[in-house]
């Protein structure tokens, strides 16, 4: 401890280095988790205990259709109390202000069926019964035009999707994701009008609600074996994992950010190693003296290890707070749900700890050079 505080400059360099490494790791992991989290904002909001999708679907941006009767068949199970067939596709939305087009994720459902957990939607959905009306996500990116703003001002907001006129009849709050910069809710009828090529009776997602207290794992297993192979039965969490897994494994995003975090780790290692190594070198005669006095080598190694530990703890704290601050900045700039969670805080702390201890262990090799006979 004193070895550190008596050299304030070296201490500051060490702590700055560790903090920097920590911040780097926080940011990279934060972005990664934030992006993965963001990819399932809509998934999380769905009012479902189990979900049917086509096995050909690979992610929310490329959902394949399956026969709607499969969902009706699922109703046969005694534990199933409700179903909602959902059309799910990306449509081209024309910005009502500058006329540019952009893909928006559109969900089509029967306005009388529950779609989202949010009970407010049930009343809002009633406006969708009129043909050509849509609910617009007010958290959509600004590139879609100032729709929410205009709507709140009381203007009639009309736009075009696939050459068909639609009118914004209300706002919902869902959130953007990886694949979709904005969201749109419409009735099945409107949806099919916008996408006339959809085969009759084909849907992309089927929501299944179970009796309260029903064994969801058992029901999913039953449904999987009862239904033909043209559908896949997932739990809601399974649906979320399915989406995240796509972004994690089928794209380079996960790899890139993990690599970034690994870089932070290595940079931190090098800095801590440098600091500890030069510290041990500087104090080598003193370590040798202690050995000559009869202190065992292990107690001296303990000193270095403790030095590493203190560095880890005191380097982590500023990294944590800077991480919080930067997350806030990222949230306000990108609307990505990047937040500090206990898991990541602990992951980064243990990485910093490992980093410092590994460096300390390497620096200890220098200590082995301390020959007590050299002090004379």
């Amino acid at each position: 401890m004193l070895l550190l505080t008596r050299q304030p400059v070296r201490l500051a360099v060490a702590l700055a280095g560790i903090s920097f490494a920590g911040i780097l790791m926080f940011m990279q992991l934060g972005f990664r988790d934030g992006l993965f989290d963001a990819s399932v904002t809509v998934h999380r909001l769905l009012d479902a205990d189990a979900v049917l999708i086509s096995p050909r679907s690979s992610s929310s941006v490329s959902m394949a259709g399956f026969p709607r009767r499969r969902l009706v068949q699922a109703m046969a199970d005694p534990d199933v109390v409700g179903i909602t067939p959902v059309h799910w596709n990306l449509l081209l939305w024309r910005n009502p202000q500058n006329r540019s087009t952009r893909s928006i994720l559109a969900l089509g459902f029967e306005p009388s069926d529950p779609l989202l957990i949010d009970p407010v939607l049930v009343t809002k959905a009633q406006v969708l019964t009129q043909r050509g009306r849509v609910l617009f996500d007010d958290q959509s990116r600004p590139e879609f035009g100032p729709v929410a703003q205009w709507f709140k001002q009381g203007r009639i907001v009309e736009s075009e999707i696939s050459g068909k006129r639609v009118r914004v009849a209300g706002l919902v709050s869902l959130g953007t994701s990886f694949g979709a910069d904005g969201n749109l809710l419409a009735s099945s009828e409107t949806f099919l009008e916008l996408l006339p090529n959809t085969p009759a009776g084909s849907i992309e997602v089927g929501l299944i609600r179970l009796k309260p207290g029903a064994d969801s794992v058992g029901v999913i297993k039953r449904l999987s074996s009862a239904l033909p192979a043209d559908v896949k039965v997932l739990s809601k969490q399974g649906f979320i994992d399915f989406e995240q897994n796509y972004w994690r494994s089928s794209t380079s995003i996960g790899f890139i950010f993990t690599l970034g975090a690994a870089m932070g780790f290595i940079v931190g290692c090098v800095i801590v190693y440098q600091v500890l190594y030069s510290d041990v070198s500087d104090h080598l005669p003193e370590y040798a003296t202690l050995m000559a006095m009869g202190y065992p080598l292990s107690s001296l190694l303990g000193v270095v290890a403790r030095e590493g530990f203190y560095l880890a703890v005191f380097g982590y704290l500023p990294a944590y707070f800077a991480g919080e601050g930067l997350y806030w900045l990222v949230r306000s700039a990108t609307k990505l749900p990047v937040a500090m969670d206990v898991n990541r805080a602990l992951t980064v702390f243990s990485m910093i700890l490992v980093m410092c201890m590994v460096s300390a262990a390497l620096a200890m090799r220098r200590l082995a050079d301390a020959d007590p006979a050299d002090i004379f």
Binding site: H283, E286, L290, M293, G294, P296, I375, F376
Partner: protein
């Protein structure tokens, strides 16, 4: 390359006895000290300390023995980041079964005994050469050694401080009943020795004072 540095050395140090060793540089005095101090492995011959044979002793055994040997060296080697009393406490920390408070108060007593009662909280940086050497002596004695090895403890001190330091050493060593082997070139302090030895080319000769 192996070379025989020390030859036909036959030396016994009794408790409470002060033995002074002189000789030209390079004759092997320091080598002898490091061997006796269990800092080096004995390759041939026999050294026995407190009844323990050092020839072939393991690293662990030597480290344990070193706890009972005090060492004072020319470059005092105090720990720069610790205060005088903390440095001395590093010595008393080697004693087993004492509380922190006891060890701390012992350290203070030792510093008072060497006349540094007013400098307890100072860093080595702020002490003069003589004071540092006295701290080093206090540290060596704080571990209650049965054998004290000193390598030119007065080399960097002026004659008066050198004298004081050596007197102090003698007094404390006699009180503690610990044997002292001191290497020195300083003719002014030869008179405190019980026995005077002269070393030349690795051979030891007795010298009458």
């Amino acid at each position: 390359m192996r070379r025989e540095v020390l030859q036909s050395i036959d030396l016994v140090i009794r408790p409470g006895e002060i033995v002074l060793l002189t000789g030209p540089s390079g004759c092997g005095k320091t080598t002898l000290l490091t061997l006796v101090g269990a800092l080096r492995q004995v390759q041939e011959g026999s050294i026995e300390i407190f009844g323990h044979q050092l020839h072939g002793a393991s690293r662990m055994a030597r480290q344990q023995l070193r706890r009972r040997i005090g060492m004072i060296i020319q470059g005092h080697n105090l720990l720069r980041c610790l205060t005088a009393e903390e440095n001395v406490q590093m010595g008393s920390d080697l004693l087993i079964g004492l509380s922190f408070q006891e060890r701390r108060s012992q350290a203070r007593d030792w510093l008072r005994a060497v006349g540094l009662g007013d400098h307890l909280g100072k860093l080595p940086h702020d002490l003069s050469g003589g004071q540092k050497q006295r701290v080093a002596i206090a540290r060596a004695l704080a571990a209650k050694p049965k054998l004290l090895l000193a390598d030119e403890p007065t080399a960097s001190l002026d004659s008066q401080t050198g004298r004081e330091v050596v007197e102090l050493l003698k007094g404390l060593a006699t009180d503690q009943g610990c044997g002292v082997l001191m290497v020195t070139h300083d003719p002014r302090i030869l008179d405190i020795a019980d026995r005077l030895l002269q070393m030349e080319d690795g051979r030891l000769f007795a010298k009458t004072a």
